[in-house]
Symmetry: C2
Subunit: 422 residues, 2 copies
Amino acid sequence: MPLVVQKYGGSSVSDAEAIQRVARRIVETKRAGNDVVVAVSAMGDTTDDLLDLANAVTDDPAPREMDILLTAGERISMALLAMAIRHLGVGAQAFTGPQAGVITTEHHGRARIIDVAPGRLQKAVSDGDVAIVAGFQGLHPETQDVTTLGRGGSDTTAVALAAALEADVCEIYTDVDGVFTADPRIVPSARKLDRISYEEMLDLAASGAKVLMPRCVEYARRFEVPIHVRSSFSGLEGTWVTGAVEGEDMEDPIIAGVAHDRSEAKITVIGVPDVPGSAARLFEAVATADVNIDMIVQNVSATVTGVTDISFTLPADTVPRATAAIEADHAGIGYAELSTDDAIGKLSLVGAGMRSNSGVSAKFFTALRDAGINIEMITTSDIRISVVTRAEKLDEAVRAVHSAFDLDSKDGEAVVYGGTGR
Amino acid sequence: MPLVVQKYGGSSVSDAEAIQRVARRIVETKRAGNDVVVAVSAMGDTTDDLLDLANAVTDDPAPREMDILLTAGERISMALLAMAIRHLGVGAQAFTGPQAGVITTEHHGRARIIDVAPGRLQKAVSDGDVAIVAGFQGLHPETQDVTTLGRGGSDTTAVALAAALEADVCEIYTDVDGVFTADPRIVPSARKLDRISYEEMLDLAASGAKVLMPRCVEYARRFEVPIHVRSSFSGLEGTWVTGAVEGEDMEDPIIAGVAHDRSEAKITVIGVPDVPGSAARLFEAVATADVNIDMIVQNVSATVTGVTDISFTLPADTVPRATAAIEADHAGIGYAELSTDDAIGKLSLVGAGMRSNSGVSAKFFTALRDAGINIEMITTSDIRISVVTRAEKLDEAVRAVHSAFDLDSKDGEAVVYGGTGR
């Protein structure tokens, strides 16, 4: 019997009625002849409400107790969902992350899944029941403490369960119809993709596409779990995220989509001595502050010889940590000045077809030039080009690029095929 | 170092401010030179809110999932309380029932504690931290599932922890100042008891005194855990519940107090054949419905020979179950008619001194007669007399008995000593 893992986020289980709707969908899937395992998030705003309570009693909550607190949210939703399924006449058993065998590292609030020991889930499924698992949580075996997985944790739980159970598909239910060629709020003509490769999805996710988190896609790629991203509000097919299918490469579109990201900021360190080791010292300082750097650009100073300016982008909420760390080693790095800029936006064009298609970069930069968009930083990989622009120009830039690559939906039939023209 | 176990109920931790107040009291106790272990209930109405959610998705919630759901309540309060204590500069670690080593039977919703394996709590305490434990919950080891203990579960958790840790005292914090000679809402002159024996407290609790549940007192008696019942809103001494102290018996008051109970109903089975085995058959039927019978009275019928009427009291909410079970065996029991009455009240006078003092019964019935109270049923044990009256006469009856035994507070100095007159 095929095994389907489904994941429902907080907005899909926001109240009793929504839980009953999700229960009906699960029962349909089960009655269609599948075994079903479900990962579920906390209801609606539960997590935020719990965070508010924690902030009301202390300004420095202990990470271990914070995880105990937050995991109460999924306990509630998983128990209610199991009850709602049984009410429809199908057996269901609810399991916490620890009970489901989700083993993690010890990092409270941002644990990583090490392994899944799915014995209890397999037992429940072979009993003919639906297994409901609390997303976002696991157990660190040495401390026997519950941990939370941080951002994207519930999606990752679902994919990890699918991998451990060798499921046929991991369905991620969300409030959009699938993965689009661009954010439909910015590009109304954006088209839903029927299929995208792990690699492309990874680059889109890392570039700001919010539908899936990179860690979840990475996990799916590693264990070759097919993901089906679809809406919990419609019965439509969504987007399949899979590995390259043999013989299908020639039909792959050149470009998968355009992603954008407003959550980064730029730090520029001015007047760094242009000698070996200065950049290293700078980035060592930033690394000790536990900051993830994205793009880096180094320019020889136009005005002063022997020194250089280094700019890099990073998540905007880590700017204070990063500047503090750099300033703490002011003398060691030997820079003149530090400036920060949080009015930037990042645009990324992603597509596996770039590898074999010349002319993509030229078309990309031409589109931006024609739209009058100034480019401040550039990085590229073999399947991605990213640029930094002014934040207020970002939407316009996304639309210009989306249109230049013919990604707009035309009566639902506008896939851009590359290669042989077949 | 003395070890104090404290228990705080839902009304003591109803919001963030209340949690901070409780945290301050715990920190005071710790700083006064004690090791402290705390059992805490779910915040205020959390449990009721969760029950409402369950009832919104199904009319027949599965007991296992119900326990998963309800235990989310204590997870929240225990984590917040630990955070609030740390915020005051004292180390604190929160533990679920399973983590605290509370081992129970498998009966979801009404599990009983089998054992406590307090290794993690002892470690936390020896680390100098306060250990916060979720009340009301435990683990059934064979299923590895969380269980809830049912009514009075959090008090019982506290006493069980105190027993396992060999604590010097188990402090039960509540919204009243201690155990009173009667319910102060009915008898405004009721006096707080400084001390009461386990036996007397058991009989008071079983007779309707709500301050402690019988199962918690029973547990304390069995393991000789001294309980101190006190208010979480004042710093006053409350009531100590302990075993008989050597040499102190002569100073024990004759009467500990007057309890009342409005939660029972009466079933009368009319025209039961007066032959051996009919009563047994009746009570077998009731037993199969899982109903706890309290008092039983049997009268030979005044009008029909060879038959008898049997009346018994039971919790009012179990009347439908009991009548259904009796009616299902109508032919077997062979009774004529069945009547139910939920307008009854029960009054109990409790005191270990009754054993050695004659005249208690006479004074008791005289007081009721003088107050014009009609008595419908009577039962006695060696330290208790209970009677059933009309519900609307119950308050008056309580006041009459309380006054007849001189239990009223007189300038705070009116303990009734029995025995030698010392």
